[in-house]
C-alpha cells in the first residue's frame, strides 16, 4: 500500500523505501540480499511498534482518516461476495456518499450499506467526501426496510466526517432524515450489525449506527463532534484540535470501556492501510461471530435487545 504517509509514519516510510530499493538493486544486479531484507523487515516491525505504541489521540484521528485506508467498497468487495448495488431513495436522487445492496456473507444473503469516501479528487467530489445528504440516509432506510421484508440481516459500514452542512441538505430535511433512521433502525425485525470502519462523525454516523451490535476497527474513531469542531467551539480555536481529540475520548479502547461498542476488530501491524487482506480477514471472523449469535434471536427479541441496548447508554446520578 504505497502512496501517502502521514507525518508520524515517516520513520516507517524510510524503512519501507529502503526495503524497496534493496529489492530493486538486487533485481537489476542479480544479488542475493535475502539476509539484509530480513534484517530490515525485523527493523520495520520494531519501528511500527514504536510509532504505534506512543500514538497520540489526534494521530489516531489522522489514521482513521488515512487516505490509503480501506473504504466501505473495499470491505464490501473483500469481506462480502457477489455484491449487487441498489440505487436511489425513490424520492429525490441517488446519493453516491452512501452505497448499498445485496451481498453474500459466509454464503448467506445480507444487505450491506456503507458510507463511501473517494480515493482520488474526482471520486472524492463524486462521493461528496463521504458526507451524505438526506437522500443518502433515506436510501439506506429503504434498503434496510427491504432487508427486513425479506428477513435478511443488515450490515452497515460507518465512515463519514458527518452529515453535509449545506443549504440543500437542510432544505430537504437532514435532521428529519437522520432522526427517522434512528427510530426506524431501532425497530427493525432483523439482525443489524454496525461497524465503524474509519470516521464515525456525529449524527451522520449514528444514522447508520443503531445496531444490535456496534463494532469498531482498532484505529477508527467515533465522536459526537470532530476534534476541530469541538476545539473551535470550546477553545475558540480549531488549532487546539489535539487537546479536543484527547478530551473527547473517541478511540475504540475508550468506547469499549464505556460500553458504547461491543468489540474491537484488530488491524494488522501498521494499520488497516498496510494490509487490506489481513484487515478483511479479521473483520470476517468477528462479523461472523456476531451475526451467528443474532440469528438465534426471535424478531421480537432483536428489537427489544436493540432498544434496551441504547436505553442503557448514559451516565448520571440521582
Amino acid at each position: 500500500m504505497g502512496g501517502v504517509y502521514l507525518d508520524f509514519e515517516q520513520p516507517i516510510r524510510k524503512v519501507i523505501e529502503r526495503i524497496e530499493e534493496m529489492r530493486r538493486i538486487a533485481d537489476t544486479e542479480g544479488l542475493d540480499v535475502h539476509d539484509e531484507i530480513e534484517k530490515l523487515e525485523t527493523k520495520l516491525a520494531k519501528v511500527r511498534d514504536d510509532v504505534y505504541r506512543k500514538i497520540t489521540p489526534y494521530q489516531r484521528v489522522q489514521l482513521a482518516r488515512h487516505p490509503n485506508r480501506p473504504f466501505a467498497l473495499d470491505y464490501i468487495n473483500s469481506v462480502f461476495e457477489d455484491f449487487i448495488e441498489l440505487h436511489g431513495d425513490r424520492q429525490f436522487r441517488d446519493d453516491p456518499a452512501i452505497v448499498g445492496g445485496w451481498a453474500l456473507f459466509g454464503g448467506k444473503p445480507v444487505m450491506v450499506i456503507g458510507q463511501q469516501k473517494g480515493r482520488d479528487t474526482k471520486e472524492k467530489i463524486y462521493r461528496n467526501f463521504g458526507m451524505a445528504h438526506p437522500e443518502g440516509y433515506r436510501k439506506a432506510m429503504r434498503l434496510m426496510k427491504m432487508a427486513e421484508q425479506y428477513g435478511r440481516a443488515i450490515v452497515t459500514l460507518i465512515d463519514t466526517q458527518g452529515a453535509y452542512p449545506g443549504i440543500e441538505a437542510e432544505e430537504r430535511g437532514q435532521a428529519e432524515a437522520i432522526a427517522r433512521n434512528l427510530r426506524e433502525m431501532a425497530m427493525l425485525r432483523v439482525p443489524l450489525v454496525a461497524i465503524v470502519i474509519g470516521e464515525g462523525g456525529s449524527g451522520g454516523a449514528l444514522a447508520l449506527g443503531v445496531g444490535n451490535r456496534v463494532l469498531m476497527m482498532e484505529n477508527a474513531i467515533y465522536s459526537v463532534i470532530s476534534p476541530e469542531g469541538c476545539a473551535s467551539i470550546l477553545w475558540r480555536d480549531a488549532e487546539e484540535k489535539e487537546k479536543a481529540a484527547r478530551a473527547l475520548k473517541i478511540d475504540a479502547a475508550h468506547l469499549m470501556k464505556f460500553g458504547i461498542i461491543d468489540e474491537i476488530i484488530d488491524e494488522p501491524n501498521g494499520g488497516a492501510h498496510m494490509d487490506f487482506a489481513g484487515t478483511a480477514a479479521n473483520m470476517s471472523k468477528v462479523l461472523d461471530k456476531h451475526l451467528s449469535q443474532l440469528r438465534r434471536l426471535s424478531e421480537e427479541d432483536l428489537v427489544t435487545q436493540r432498544v434496551e441496548k441504547f436505553s442503557h447508554m448514559g451516565e448520571f446520578e440521582e
Binding site: 428529519e176 426506524e184 443503531v210 470550546l234 478530551a247 448514559g314
Partner: protein, 279 residues
C-alpha cells in the same frame, strides 16, 4: 427604514436574555426599544415584531397545563463528568456553576400534567443550562417521559430549545439521540400522539432526534430550526445564506413542520389536536 430591514432578517442565532434589571429593553429582532413589563405580559413576545423570546420551563408549563396539574419528575437527576472533560474550564465546575445560576439540575424539566383535563407527559428544555444541550440527563429524562407516556397511554409533548449535543459528555451525548428515538419507535407501535414543539433555537442532535419525530411537528414563529448551525454552513459553502433560512416558516414551506403556531395559541391548538386524535 433601518429597523424594517432588521425585522425581515430576523434575530441573531443566539438568544440573549431579554430582560436585564432595566425597565427598557431593546428587541434583538426589530431593534425597537420596548417597555419590559409589556413584553413580559405578552408572554415574552416582542410587542412590535412578534418575535418569540424564550420562556423558562415553568413559564411554558404554566402556559400549557391546566392550573395546579403540574407534577415534576426526576428533578434530582444530575450529570456526572464521566470523561473528566476539561476545555478551558472543567466540565464538573461548569456544571456546578450552572446549577447555582439556574437553580436547576439540568437542561430539561419533565412533568406530568393535564391539558383540558387530559393527562399528558410534558418535557420542556431550558436553554439557560449550557445552551439547552443534550447530555445523558436530558436524554434519560426525555426517555423516561416517553416511557411514562407508554405506560399510562398518555399523549407526549416535548418543547425543544437546544444548541444540540453536550460536547463535554462526548459519545454519551451522541447516544442520547439513539436512545430517545428508539423509545419513540415504541410510541408509534402504540398509537399514542406525540406533539413536538420547536422553539428558538432548536439545532443539532436534538433536532435530528426527538424534535423532528413528532406525529405533529409545531414551531413557534421565527424560531431557528436546523441540524447544522448557520455559521458552520456558511463556512462550508463560503456564501451567504438566503433570507429566512432555517426559520420556522422556511421549514413549514419545505414540508418539515405541520404548522407554525404563535405562543398565545399553543394551548388551544394542542387541545384541538388532542380531541381529534384521542377517543
Amino acid at each position: 427604514m433601518s429597523w424594517f430591514r432588521k425585522e425581515k432578517r430576523g434575530p441573531k442565532v443566539q438568544p440573549k436574555k431579554v430582560i436585564p434589571d432595566n425597565i427598557w429593553i431593546k428587541c434583538e429582532a426589530c431593534g425597537e426599544t420596548l417597555y419590559k413589563k409589556e413584553v413580559e405580559a405578552n408572554l415574552n413576545v416582542c410587542t412590535r415584531c412578534s418575535f418569540h423570546y424564550g420562556l423558562t420551563p415553568d413559564q411554558y408549563a404554566a402556559l400549557l397545563l391546566d392550573s395546579g396539574s403540574f407534577l415534576e419528575h426526576d428533578s434530582v437527576m444530575s450529570s456526572v463528568d464521566t470523561l473528566s472533560f476539561v476545555d478551558r474550564k472543567k466540565y464538573s465546575e461548569r456544571l456546578d456553576q450552572m446549577v447555582k445560576k439556574t437553580g436547576r439540575n439540568e437542561a430539561v424539566v419533565a412533568a406530568s400534567g393535564k391539558i383540558d383535563k387530559i393527562d399528558v407527559q410534558l418535557s420542556v428544555m431550558d436553554f439557560s443550562f449550557i445552551g439547552g444541550s443534550m447530555g445523558s440527563v436530558v436524554g434519560e429524562k426525555i426517555a423516561r417521559s416517553i416511557r411514562r407516556s407508554l405506560d399510562g397511554h398518555q399523549p407526549l409533548i416535548i418543547i425543544s430549545r437546544s444548541g444540540g449535543a453536550r460536547m463535554m459528555e462526548g459519545i454519551f451525548s451522541l447516544m442520547q439521540m439513539a436512545k430517545t428515538s428508539a423509545y419513540l419507535g415504541r410510541m408509534r407501535e402504540e398509537n399514542i400522539p406525540y406533539f413536538s414543539i420547536m422553539t428558538h433555537p432548536t439545532t443539532g442532535g436534538v433536532t435530528a432526534s426527538f424534535s423532528m419525530l413528532g406525529d405533529i411537528n409545531i414551531a413557534e414563529p421565527g424560531a431557528l430550526i436546523g441540524f447544522a448551525g448557520p455559521r458552520v454552513i456558511k463556512q462550508t459553502i463560503r456564501q451567504d445564506l438566503p433570507d429566512g433560512f432555517q426559520r420556522a416558516e422556511f421549514l413549514l414551506e419545505h414540508g418539515m413542520l405541520d404548522m407554525v403556531v404563535p405562543r398565545r395559541q399553543m394551548r388551544y391548538t394542542l387541545i384541538r389536536l388532542l380531541h381529534f386524535m384521542l377517543d
